[in-house]
């Protein structure tokens, strides 16, 4: 599983983290995934407004998973999170003892921002929020083909530095594991991300 070079991108880190419940698997499109606590994962019902999609580890772009696997592990039949509901101001995460603030650097921007990773439940939420903050840039969510905006021209790849000091592509590992191991974020210009092999949508190889 481990590759020779320092940049381990497409495999999961088995070092001491129990991520059984949140493990990404390659289910066949449409197949429900049974979590460790017995609940069935559903492509869940949505309200009138569009929910935020994140296609995790799914080869078939047509199948949309309603919410992250992490949420499925928590409560088997949980509703999808609707944008802006309940109407509590987002950045005021109340009563949370742990705040996982990480700095976000964007290539070409003169300032840093900070985000609290504990505030998000999924990659999609994080990336949407980053797009909000750095709105003049288009952050390419390589997991979601639709999001590419050619008009703006410049695409950015979201990367992060993990506990071991390695730069990884955002989205590889289960969400909670990412929150625990992420030390800082960097939105790298796509043109510079060549070394990370990210130009095309990743193919989840059979080694996963």
């Amino acid at each position: 599983m481990s590759s020779e070079n320092g940049k381990r991108l497409l495999e999961t880190d088995a070092g001491g983290l129990n991520f059984e419940a949140t493990e990404l698997t390659l289910g066949l499109p449409g197949e429900p995934r049974v979590t460790s606590d017995g609940g069935a994962k559903l492509g869940s019902k949505r309200g009138i407004s569009e929910t935020v999609d994140l296609k995790l580890g799914d080869n078939n772009p047509e199948v949309k998973l309603g919410h992250s696997l992490q949420e499925a592990a928590k409560s088997p039949v949980s509703k999808t999170q609707v944008v802006g509901w309940p109407p509590v101001r987002g950045f005021a995460k109340r009563g949370k003892k742990s705040c996982k603030y990480v700095k976000v650097a964007v290539d070409g921007a003169p300032y840093l921002r900070k985000v609290d990773l504990e505030m998000y439940n999924s990659y999609q939420q994080l990336l949407t929020s980053l797009e909000d903050m750095f709105s003049c840039f288009t952050i390419r969510n390589y997991l979601n083909e639709k999001k590419i905006d050619q008009v703006n021209g410049i695409e950015y790849m979201p990367t992060y530095e993990d506990k071991d000091g390695d730069w990884m592509l955002v989205g590889d590992v289960p969400w909670q594991m990412f929150v625990e191991s992420c030390k800082r974020l960097r939105l790298m210009k796509s043109s510079e991300a060549v070394g990370l092999g990210l130009k095309t949508a990743p193919k989840y190889s059979s080694t996963n």
Binding site: G47, V83, W85, F91, G95, Y111
Partner: protein, 611 residues
């Protein structure tokens, strides 16, 4: 911490509705264009008397009324208005405002609609402070105070305020963004007369600039320094020195990077404080276990004037007893960041006999609310926020807590209550027990949730509120609601000015009831409800009297909105697209429309189409 306290504007201050009568009143003037001083002696006396008299008129509602009496009064009122309030920054241009009011000392501006707080509006929509800053710099170099809400403010704007307004004294930014610590650094360093710097629920980017050190040396005039929302480390030593040289400091609200040990050091230097935000209220990691803990109780006891307490951002409940000495005097207590239990709350709240405003997390459960009801007989405002703001989380508070509050706190005027379950019975009880309610905002977090006891929709509960609470001006509804609820609102909610609706109603009739029945309606925000073009049409008679209408994820079409735009030339009708919508889609994602004297704004981003 104050609620958005809107006083009725009748007529609106952000539009010039000068009646025909007013235009023809002045015998010497032509009734339009620039004022001419061709008055005869009696008119001159009248104007002088008027000018002196109008200086005493402070309420903007009264001033608006006075300005309509006749041309003469209009002119003098414009000369004497020193505090300018503009509820929608796009309703009037900076140029028009500065042309009419020539002696303004304080500006109060509001930008984005409230639903922008919940990520329902893409960023960079607008509400830029910049054109206002520049216009003010030319027109009002003596400007002293700026109060902004939901505006985009840049570092440059902050520099402008500090550099171009020599006597600038007071800056209050509520729910603003677009600036960072660099901007703050420039602002505080150049603003020598600064008395008030209040950053409230604003997003401040961390440019890693030590802005606290940038306050000028020597005695400062600071009376209020609020920065609890600033998510950056600060230079504590510099802050301590600043507090030490600010003898007039009354309000200090620290961010969560200030430890309790540091709080102690500040409190002993500023026992005159009336408003305190405690910061983290926990020790820093560096504090050793064996270190002598300061006498926190004594520090609080020394603050004899303390009436408003907040903060507790990362509270260690063991330290709570430190605040006992001030409880008896507190009129406002904000525990909305403190994840504490009922047991931890009780010893505190049982001492807070004078409490009028209380913000808290639902971690205190119904039991905690019962304790509040038992002691806080003078309570006017209650806000209960969810620790876990998800639809399917456990709900520690319920109808039990609401019922208890209604029975114990009869003077309640304003309530915001997040919960997972609520019964009509409890809401009806509150409507009867708390007749002074002005603001009733209930958020049942599960969408379309019925009364768990009866299985009925929540129509009757909200119906009782509008029927029994005769002073009600602000209402937010939730839970399973049919058109009947809106029928009640239309029939009885005659004073309602602000209404928030989400996931409610069955048909267009619901919206029609409201638009036809509520003559005081100013702000209507609706999301995810089945209201379409026909409903929209039913409000044509009223839209000029409103500040704005927001409808997102409803059933509006582009041609329906176009119809409104054509029928009402002084309305700006914005269709806001989300990322995956096409420009020519007929279905409208978000409609935001507002009256304006200026027509379509020129700074609209690509994803906004103005019809």
């Amino acid at each position: 911490m104050s609620e958005d306290d809107e006083r009725q504007q009748s007529p609106p201050s952000d539009l010039e509705f000068v009646s025909n009568k007013a235009r023809n009143c002045n015998a010497t003037g032509s009734g339009s264009g620039h004022p001419e001083f061709q008055s005869t002696y009696p008119d001159q006396v009248l104007e002088n008397v008027l000018e002196n008299m109008l200086h005493f008129l402070t309420s903007r509602r009264d001033r608006n009324a006075a300005s309509l009496v006749c041309k003469s009064w209009y002119r003098v009122e414009a000369l004497t208005r020193s505090e300018l309030f503009i509820g929608n920054c796009y309703a009037v241009s900076p140029g028009r405002a500065t042309a009419r009011f020539t002696r303004v000392k304080a500006l109060h501006l509001k930008g984005k609609p409230r639903f922008a707080d919940f990520n329902l509006m893409p960023p960079d929509w607008g509400a830029h402070f910049n054109p206002w800053a520049l216009a003010m710099a030319k027109a009002y170099p003596w400007l002293e105070k700026v109060h902004l809400k939901r505006m985009s403010v840049t570092d440059d704007d902050l520099a402008t305020l500090a550099e171009l307004f020599l006597g600038f004294k007071e800056l209050v930014l509520v729910c603003c963004d677009g600036f960072g610590t660099s901007g703050l650094a420039i602002f505080v360093s150049k603003c020598r007369q600064l008395k008030v710097l209040d950053l409230i629920e604003s997003e401040v980017s961390d440019d890693e600039t030590d802005w606290i050190s940038c306050f000028p040396e020597g005695e400062s005039n600071l009376e209020s320094l609020i920065f609890d929302c600033v998510e950056c480390h600060i230079n504590f030593e510099a802050l301590e020195r600043l507090v030490a040289r600010s003898p007039s400091l009354k309000k200090l609200k620290l961010n969560r990077y200030v430890s309790i040990g540091q709080l102690y050091r500040l409190m002993v230097r500023a026992p005159q404080l009336t408003h305190l935000g405690t910061g983290s209220f926990s020790p820093s990691d560096i504090a050793g276990q064996g270190d002598q803990e300061p006498d926190y109780v004594a520090a609080f006891a020394a603050c004899r004037s303390l009436v408003c307490l907040s903060g507790f951002r990362e509270i260690i409940p063991d330290y709570l007893p430190a605040i006992y000495p001030v409880c008896a005097n507190l009129t406002s207590l904000n525990f909305s960041y403190a994840n504490i239990t009922a047991e931890q709350l009780k010893p505190i709240i049982s001492k807070c006999h004078k409490l009028q405003t209380f913000w808290v997390l639902d971690s205190i459960c119904d039991e905690g609310l019962q304790a509040v009801a038992a002691t806080c007989k003078d309570l006017r405002e209650l806000r209960v926020f969810p620790v876990d703001a998800r639809e399917d989380s456990d709900g520690p508070v319920s109808e039990v807590g609401l019922q208890a509050i209604s029975e114990g706190c009869r003077k309640l005027q304003s309530i915001l209550y997040f919960c997972q379950r609520m019964t009509n019975a409890a809401v009806i009880a509150m409507s009867k027990n708390c007749p002074d309610l002005v603001v009733f905002r209930l958020c049942i977090m599960g969408r379309h949730r019925a009364d768990p006891v009866t299985g009925e929709p929540m129509d009757d509960g909200f119906g009782a509120i509008v029927m029994n609470c005769k002073k009600l001006t602000r209402l937010a509804v939730s839970g399973l609601l049919t058109d009947k609820a809106f029928d009640y609102i239309g029939r009885h909610g005659k004073l309602v000015r602000t209404l928030s609706v989400a996931f409610a109603g069955d048909s267009d009739m619901a919206l029609k009831y409201v638009l036809e029945g509520c003559p005081q309606l100013q702000k209507l925000e609706i999301r995810d409800s089945p209201f379409g073009d026909a409903a929209l049409r039913s409000g044509l008679h009223h839209y000029y009297n409103m500040r704005f209408l927001w409808m997102s994820s409803c059933r509006l079409t582009r041609h329906g909105c176009q119809e409104i735009a054509r029928a009402m030339p002084r309305l700006v009708v914005e269709v806001i697209r989300s990322a995956d919508e096409e420009e020519m889609d007929d279905v409208v994602g978000t409609l935001y429309m507002y009256r304006s004297l200026e027509g379509p704004r020129t700074d609209a981003p690509k994803f906004v189409t103005i019809l």
